[in-house]
Amino acid sequence: MSDTPHTSLYVRSANVAKRNRAGNTLRYLGLGAISLVLLFLAVLLWSILSRGVPAFYQYQAQIELFYDAETLDPDGTLDPEEIGSRSLRSGYERGIFADSLRATLEGNGINTEEFKDKDLSNLIYAANRRDVRDSVVENLDLLDQTVPFNVPIASPVTRYLSGELAGVDRSSMPPGIDRAQLDLIDQMVEAGLIEQKFRWNFFSNVYSQSGEIAGIGPALMGSAYMMLVVLVFSLIFGVAASIYLEEFAPKNRLTDFIEINIANLAAVPSIVFGILGAAILITLKNLGFGDSIRGTALMGGIVLSLMTLPTIVIATRAALKAVPPSIRDAALGVGASKIQTVFHHTLPLAAPGILTGTIIGIAQALGETAPLLLIGLSVSTGAELLSSPLTGGLLEQTQSMPTAVYLFSQNQDTPVREGLAQSAIIVMLVLLFALNLFAIILRRRFERRW
């Protein structure tokens, strides 16, 4: 029948063996790559979680806080305004905290004679005017009362409690802390006066240089407001631009040019948008508007919108393109106008793709840092925003999550730099995962309809 010699199927030919080897090599390379990626992911998560999660907990001392009327209101005015203004003079809160701590310790049978007031107040975070003065301003009945109170342990002592200072000799102790003080801390722990608590106020407090009371409240709100601005601006403009380009624009050189430039815009480094924002701010200042929108969520949102716009345009156009032309034909065929075809048929079918693209764009914007630093999202603590969260939302200076992480990571204090920065990162990652999950759920729901 044929001249080719009979070959058995049981014998693997050299050619096939070679091809199999090539295939296996590729497979192992792929597996290796995936393992490497998983390893990096594990290292990343471990490094974030191992430092960030403990930083959510804080050592606090339970003291009996005595609101000393002689210090807070020496003239006996009982006038909240007077009390509120006079305390600006000096950090007298330290004295109140030191006295209260001493009284608490003596009450628990711990001898404090050898310690000066300063030694005691150095152990705790004793500079929080809000806790003492503002409480009294709000409620004058507190004067001369003794109230159980949890005060954060000072950050050097925190390092001792978490075991970091074990075996460190006297000369390299953090400033203001010596062995005798640490022994006192040991006694307090034994007496059950020091507890580790989840610091809920991390989510509501304003940013501060002091790690003991620093929080990400304004940063969270600033980011939320910015996402809102991004959503409104980039979704409206992005979808409108995409519909025009995809469904109405004639295909000519001009639209080609626009298309290429949108793709280019998506690749522009984010810091460039920051420079653009900064230039706008300078122009506004020169025009006499001052710093009115510097560092606000509105400004940040606009800059991030510019950055997100190309992503949304590209995703929306892809989603519109994916709608089968037969649907457009069908609608036009029964006499729908072009605009009806788009809004009744094409757009609803493209919605899952548009939503996914939008959420991915927003997630990208949520993590963007560089442009925000340039337009001043890191200059304010955000206290103004917190005092009027609804009315001041867009127009008060604030922070954002990534700039808060940046600020924490630049802090002098090691526990802040290594702990709180990671805690803020965890919060941000949780938000990002939530956004992505939301995108997936939305897409599933829309797709399941038919």
Binding site: S326, D329, L332, G333, V334, G335, W450
Partner: protein
């Protein structure tokens, strides 16, 4: 069957001209797809366009409801009159034209909505129904006309895309007739269907003839012979021959027509 079509054909010759095309040229950019076509299509008649692939029959069909407008490089010259009115006149809105000239496409393309919404969409946007009950009536009537009412009446709110191919195509026909058109254009409506579904659709086309002017593009000569009273043979953009279906299939005048129907070209 043969006898009835004979008598029908005798009657059809008395029908008025519904669509009249004179000197129609169609260009895609620089390529001429239709060359100087003159044709007069009679009302209440099924007219079949046959011819090999790429001969321009679909292009010409899409000129009749200006679906070619959606292709930016497409240019149409000449006159196409429906009831004596030039449909390419600047005063004519293609949206209004397409309500009058319905279309059924090659691949069944129901909207990804419910069966009810598929049919109700056209009447809704054209404002044909004054109330919900009105709309219900229109939908039922259209589905009956599409010979699919009995199959879907219990699941009007099920998705249209869940029907079988043949049912989907009849749904599309129902959707097309729901806007009360006068002309129905069909672009190879059975090419994606199996023989049984094809037979059902063909039967339906035959019934539709009593109310509508039907123009059907088909690749199947048997189908043209079965459903049409008039046949036009297109070749390379030219209308080679146009006449009674009987005559085209039994005694064509042009040698190209004869070659095509006998299977030598195409």
């Amino acid at each position: 069957m043969k006898d009835t079509t004979e008598t029908d054909r005798a009657m059809s010759t008395q029908n008025d001209v519904k669509i009249s095309a004179k000197g129609v040229q169609v260009y895609y950019d620089k390529n001429q797809a239709i060359k100087d076509v003159d044709v007069e299509i009679e009302g209440r008649t099924v007219t079949a366009f046959i011819g090999p692939s790429g001969c321009g029959k679909s292009t010409f069909l899409r000129c009749l409801n200006r679906m070619n407008d959606t292709i930016s490089i497409c240019r149409v010259e000449g006159d196409i009159l429906i009831d004596g009115e030039d449909i390419y006149d600047p005063r004519v809105d293609p949206v209004q034209l397409r309500a009058k000239v319905g279309m059924v496409f090659q691949k069944p393309n129901p909207f990804p909505k419910s069966i009810y919404d598929n049919v109700a969409y056209g009447p809704k946007i054209h404002g044909l129904a004054k109330s919900k009950a009105d709309l219900d009536d229109i939908v039922e009537k259209a589905l009956r006309r599409g010979a699919i009412w009995d199959e879907v009446k219990d699941r009007l709110h099920a998705p249209g895309t869940g029907l079988s191919g043949g049912q989907q195509q009849r749904l599309c026909i129902a959707r097309a007739v729901a806007t009360e058109p006068e002309v129905l254009l069909m672009d190879e409506p059975c090419s994606a269907l199996d023989p049984i579904a094809t037979a059902q659709v063909e039967e339906l086309i035959d019934e539709l003839r009593s109310d509508y002017t039907v123009v059907i593009v088909t690749h199947s000569m048997q189908q043209a012979a079965r459903v049409s009273q008039k046949t036009a043979f297109f070749h390379l953009g030219n209308l080679v021959e146009y006449g009674d279906t009987d005559k085209i299939f039994t005694n064509p005048e042009d040698p190209r027509t004869e070659s095509y129907i006998s299977g030598r070209i195409g």
